[in-house]
């Protein structure tokens, strides 16, 4: 009952009913605050209960590693020992056909990539595609960063490599653009 005392003076002019109503009214901020805190906690719980499984960055890494380390991909492989030389690109194998044979998906609208090989002067010397058709279809959407169903997201990787042309190793750069449909 002590809590009424500070308000006693200001409520002096109110009647019995008015006094009750005023006390109810003075609790409204507390009620609103309680509701706000509970909503805040609910939002926090909802944020941390995450049921989505986003593996796109992992898909990019797996594809990148398949291109770099796979024995039947674009990397130079010793015919006798079968040893793969990651980072050494076989210039003759740097084609769409090699990539499409090395990594196939039963559903066309899956992952796609463009590989651009540059020489040491950073001049483009050769381009190869994985899933060429869908790369060209989705590139405008991915480049424009249009979101939503039917769109795609593009990831880039760039690294120094060696390309082997006519049994001669040349320094160069490889730029990989990977598109993953949403």
């Amino acid at each position: 009952m002590n809590m009424r005392k500070p308000y006693k003076k200001s409520y002096r002019t109110l009647g019995k009913k008015g006094l009750g109503a005023a006390e109810l009214l003075e609790h409204i901020p507390y009620i609103l605050l309680t509701i706000a805190v509970l909503i805040g906690i609910f939002v926090l719980v909802n944020t941390h209960v995450n049921l989505s499984v986003n593996i796109k960055p992992l898909q990019v890494e797996v594809l990148f590693n398949r291109i770099m380390y796979s024995p039947n991909s674009i990397m130079y492989t010793d015919n006798i020992t079968g040893v793969v030389y990651p980072g050494v690109i076989d210039f003759d194998k740097f084609t769409n056909t090699t990539l499409d044979n090395a990594i196939k998906y039963s559903y066309e609208k899956h992952i796609s990539a463009k590989l651009e090989l540059y020489d040491k002067e950073k001049q483009l010397i050769k381009t190869a595609y994985l899933n060429n058709v869908w790369y060209n279809r989705l590139e405008p959407l991915a480049s424009a960063r249009i979101k939503g169903p039917g769109s795609a997201r593009m990831y880039y990787k760039s690294l120094p490599v060696v390309y082997r042309e006519n049994n001669v190793n040349q320094p160069g750069f490889l730029r990989i653009s990977i598109i993953i449909p949403t």
């Binding site: 009952m1 809590m3 009424r4 019995k16 006094l19 009750g20 006390e23 109810l24 609790h27 507390y30 009620i31 309680t34 509701i35 509970l38 906690i41 609910f42 719980v45 909802n46 209960v49 049921l51 499984v53 593996i55 992992l58 898909q59 797996v62 594809l63 590693n65 398949r66 770099m68 380390y69 796979s70 024995p71 039947n72 991909s73 079968g82 040893v83 793969v84 044979n101 090395a102 990594i103 196939k104 998906y105 039963s106 559903y107 899956h110 992952i111």
Partner: protein, 159 residues
């Protein structure tokens, strides 16, 4: 009313506020708990997770230049019964049922296959808690531990 004087009015307001708080807290606890319970017991998350994880594992094994045996542990609630199927182009996870896999509601994820590595289809039953993902002589499959198939022990931390 006999008790409806100034003091009881103030008591009523406090009681109203307390009741309101209790009801609101009760509703809040029920809502949050049901949300968490739904998240924990929902098998769709586990199906999505295991199909993607295993498909990416098989995908990565295609880049292998040697043989591998990987022990894979399955860890989902006991009340959940999932079957895992390895197909030549994808990994399928379904709720356990007696009907054939192709007629069940499937959660699948595709991996990149090629003609240099063959994938042997296999079905991992709901009762299995760990199995081996084997890459042997350009062949990938899942193997259930038996007398012939021993799962690798985790490597002890070295000095």
């Amino acid at each position: 009313m006999r008790f409806w004087n100034k003091k009881s009015q103030s008591g009523f307001v406090i009681l109203f506020y307390l009741l309101f708080g209790l009801i609101l807290s009760g509703l809040f606890v029920i809502t949050v708990m049901s949300r968490i319970k739904a998240a924990v017991s929902d098998s769709s998350y586990h199906k999505k997770f295991y199909s993607r994880d295993l498909a990416l594992l098989v995908d990565a094994l295609h880049a292998s230049n040697g043989d591998f045996v990987i022990k894979y542990d399955i860890n989902y609630p006991e009340s959940m019964h999932l079957d895992i199927a390895l197909e030549p182009d994808r990994v399928i996870v379904t709720d356990h049922s007696d009907i054939p896999v192709d007629k069940r509601l499937q959660t699948s994820f595709r991996f990149g296959y090629n003609s240099y590595v063959s994938v042997i289809p296999v079905m991992i039953n709901r009762t299995i808690t760990s199995f081996a993902v084997v890459y042997d002589n350009h062949t990938i499959t899942f193997k259930v531990p038996s007398e012939d198939v021993k799962l690798p022990e985790p490597r002890k931390p070295g000095p």
